[in-house]
């Protein structure tokens, strides 16, 4: 299969598997630090009783998404790996989010808060 380079159009954009360096351990520690701080902030909201849910919940969600993003992007290497991996994972993620959001909407979940 030595002649295939000009035919495998898809591998053109995907040959980056080794064209990058994975982050250094130091970077991983930094990310873990960010995650730890975010978790601390999240947990701190537990003692803030005066914050109304309309503000608290979006803030919690944002922090959650950021943590989610950091783990997926750095620890799971989605940032560096081929985008096909991300496409499969994100399709599952988006499909699940949309389908179950509709599901909960049909049950009038959001009205009850």
């Amino acid at each position: 299969m030595s002649t295939e380079t000009e035919h495998t159009t898809e591998s053109d954009k995907s040959d980056d598997e080794h064209s990058h360096e994975h982050p250094s351990d130091k970077k991983y520690f930094q990310i873990a630090g960010i995650l730890a701080v975010l978790t601390a902030l999240e947990v701190a909201t537990y003692w803030l009783e005066s914050v109304p849910g309309e503000i608290l919940i979006p803030v919690l969600m944002i922090m959650m998404v950021v943590k989610f993003f950091y783990v997926a992007a750095w620890f799971m290497h989605l940032r560096f790996d081929n985008s096909l991996f991300m496409k499969f994972f994100v399709s599952g993620l988006i499909l699940a989010s949309v389908v179950y959001a509709i599901f909960l909407t049909v049950f009038e979940f959001w009205h009850k808060g």
């Binding site: 295939e4 159009t9 399709s91 499909l95 949309v98 049909v106």
Partner: protein, 648 residues
């Protein structure tokens, strides 16, 4: 878990492994052929196994259908009691959907996908074997319930709380929930396997948009499986935990909502409809161009409409629940989304017709069945539109009108499509054609029986005959049509019998004759480059693909007027099956051992934990042995290169 996924051995004759002993790994031959079959990891043999097992279940499901029709042939029927009837109609649905239609599609997918994309096997051959054995184990497990105190009696849709322990005290529903969980594992694993296969194992030059429509539709199906099976898995877990451990998901007294089951079930259930029908669409998208001597009309639209159907299939599930009490806004939203899913389906029908239009159509048996899909599925599609209209559906749902609708889709669409595939690819698989004469007879008998069976059901439904009733009283105008329906169902049975006889007599007539030559149909796609029947190693050398319908383009070119002219004979184009330096994965017992463990775990959950211990130990042993077993053993004494078909 990931350790069970093995790397493929897509090795070809490049320099890297030229130092190895070359040769085809030939499977154990001779007297004890069964060992060959139970240990095989060859996608073609697994495809055949899927097909054989699924046909067996198809016959069982068909017998159940006949019993249903005997009971309903006359008013106040007494052939079956109410209890037996409920078990039989439940098992008819479960068997036909999970144990016949899905594995039949898996049979085609397994056999054909690697061939159509120019690969030697699937990405994970042993996982593929595991999928089959797990499916078979699950199918046998569900049917064991007949012998162990009664089959499931809550319908294939198993609406809670009627399937709870209070209302269904026999173990039937446990067998249903655990059995489908087991077959679900098979579907999920094979979905992942074939997805990776299609993405990763295409021959050089075969871009996604040079893949045959069949492979495309199968890709959509595999993705649907990957994303839909977990949903039914959760639903079945909730049901199992409720029945076995007293979980209160569906206990209204404590606040459990029975609609939870319905949503989870149909979030899976509607994509499932497309999981069932898209393979048939793929099959006839290969058959129609071949026998019309034209390329498929609007290839990109065929592909995109398939993707669109698969995608939109996720947004319509609650149309099964218009009468369930989900609130008018939800009903309106799902009603509209359902209507518009008709558009890509319509695009497909019209493209098939445009493919045939102006062609040189040869009405072979395969083509007749494909033709049957185009016309019969249209009826199912149109009646589908009539109940996407939610207000109309409140009259039609749960009546025989719906039964008519989905049988036009499932039988008219899927079964006709699969039969088309049988006739088309039989020579590819077995090296001889099925009798065309009997095939055509088969088609006409089936068409007549099918319409006599399911056509009158439209009328019965609009006359108000409810579904899932074990009997009806005289005087509601149901008598005459029900008799017609029953007669029709026996005509269908006759047509299936004709098919089975055809299989046997065709094989008998072919005995002793050399295998059929290459290209019996003047076909178009890559699988026909290999000899018939396909040798174990598939391709002597992986072809380099330049166009859609690669095989056809190697046979035909065009002259200066743009007219089609033959540039090469099929014999020149086809490979002769002589293998050089092909290294195939070795057979393995462990997928089978693992699969045998699962039903014992199921029995253990129902009866005694000792079964669990035994089954768990068996499954674990299978897994561990599997992990530590080499994918293919380089020390195995490989046989000399063999010519598979030119031995004389």
């Amino acid at each position: 878990m990931t350790q069970t996924m093995e790397p493929s051995s897509m090795e070809t004759s490049n320099g890297e492994n030229s130092h190895r002993p070359l040769g085809v790994y030939t499977r154990p031959k001779g007297g004890s052929g069964w060992r060959d079959w139970v240990t095989t990891v060859d996608h073609k043999k697994i495809g055949i196994l899927y097909g054989a097992a699924a046909l067996l279940f198809f016959v069982i499901g068909g017998i159940e259908a006949l019993l249903i029709r005997l009971q309903l042939a006359t008013p106040d029927g007494t052939v079956l009691g109410a209890d037996t009837y409920n078990q039989i109609y439940t098992m008819h649905g479960v068997t036909m959907i999970f144990l016949a239609a899905m594995p039949l599609a898996a049979a085609f997918a397994n056999y054909l996908i690697p061939l159509q994309i120019g690969a030697r096997d699937v990405a994970f051959p042993r996982l593929n074997a595991m999928s089959f054995w797990v499916f078979l184990a699950g199918g046998i497990f569900i049917n064991l319930s007949w012998l162990l105190g009664g089959a499931p009696d809550g319908g294939w849709f198993a609406y809670s709380p009627n399937t709870g322990i209070v209302f269904s005290p026999s173990h039937g529903m446990d067998f249903y929930a655990i059995g489908l969980q087991i077959t679900g594992i098979a579907s999920l694993v094979s979905g992942i396997n074939l997805t990776v296969t299609i993405f990763n194992m295409r021959a050089p030059g075969m871009t996604l948009f040079k893949m045959p429509v069949f492979t495309w539709m199968m890709l959509v199906v595999q993705l649907l499986l990957v994303f839909a099976m977990p949903v039914i898995a959760v639903a079945l877990f909730l049901l199992t935990f409720s029945r076995l451990f007293g979980a209160t998901f569906f206990t209204p007294e404590l606040g459990g909502d029975p609609l939870l089951w319905q949503h989870l079930f149909w979030i899976f259930g509607h994509p499932e409809v497309y999981i069932l029908v898209l393979p048939a669409f793929g099959i006839i998208s290969e058959v129609i161009p071949t026998f019309s001597r034209k390329p498929i009309f609007g290839y990109p639209f065929m592909v995109f409409s398939g993707i669109a159907i698969g995608f939109m299939g996720w947004g319509v599930w609650a149309h099964h629940m218009f009468a369930s009490g989900i609130g008018p806004v939800s009903v309106a939203a799902f009603s509209l989304s359902t209507m518009f899913i008709a558009v890509p389906t319509g695009v497909k029908i019209l493209n098939w017709m445009a493919t045939m239009w102006g062609g040189r159509i040869k009405f072979s048996a395969a083509m007749l069945f494909a033709f049957g899909v185009v016309s019969m599925f249209t009826i199912g599609g149109l009646s589908g539109v009539t109940h996407s209209i939610a207000p109309a559906d409140t009259q039609q749902t749960d009546t025989y009108y719906i039964v008519a609708h989905f049988h036009y889709v499932i039988f008219g669409g899927i079964i006709f499509g699969l039969f088309s595939g049988f006739f088309f690819w039989w020579p590819k698989v077995f090296g001889h054609k099925l009798s065309e004469k009997m095939g055509k007879l088969n088609f006409w008998v089936m068409l007549i029986g099918f319409n006599l069976t399911f056509g009158p059901m439209h009328i019965l439904g609009l006359q108000g005959m409810s579904r899932r009733i074990d009997t009806y009283s005289p005087g509601f105008g149901f008598e005459a049509w029900n008799l017609v329906v029953t007669i029709g169902s026996f005509i269908i049975a006759l047509s299936v019998l004709i098919f089975l006889i055809n299989v046997i007599t065709s094989a008998r007539n072919a005995r002793g004759l050399p295998p059929i030559g290459p290209d019996p149909w003047d076909a178009r796609s890559l699988e026909w480059i290999t000899p018939n029947p396909t040798p174990a190693h598939n391709f002597d050398e992986i072809p380099i693909v330049e166009s859609l319908d690669e095989f056809w383009h190697r046979k035909y070119g065009s002259d200066e007027d743009g007219k089609v002219v033959r540039v090469a004979s099929a014999e020149d184009v086809c490979q002769d099956g002589s293998a050089e330096g092909v290294h195939l994965p070795s057979p393995s017992y462990w997928p089978l051992v693992f699969a045998i463990g699962l039903p014992f775990i199921g029995l253990g959950l129902i009866y005694s934990l000792w079964f669990c211990v035994f089954g768990g130990a068996l499954a674990l042993m299978g897994l561990y042995a599997w992990v530590f077993e080499p994918v293919d053993d380089p020390d195995v004494d490989h046989h000399e290169p063999q010519k598979e078909d030119a031995s004389d």
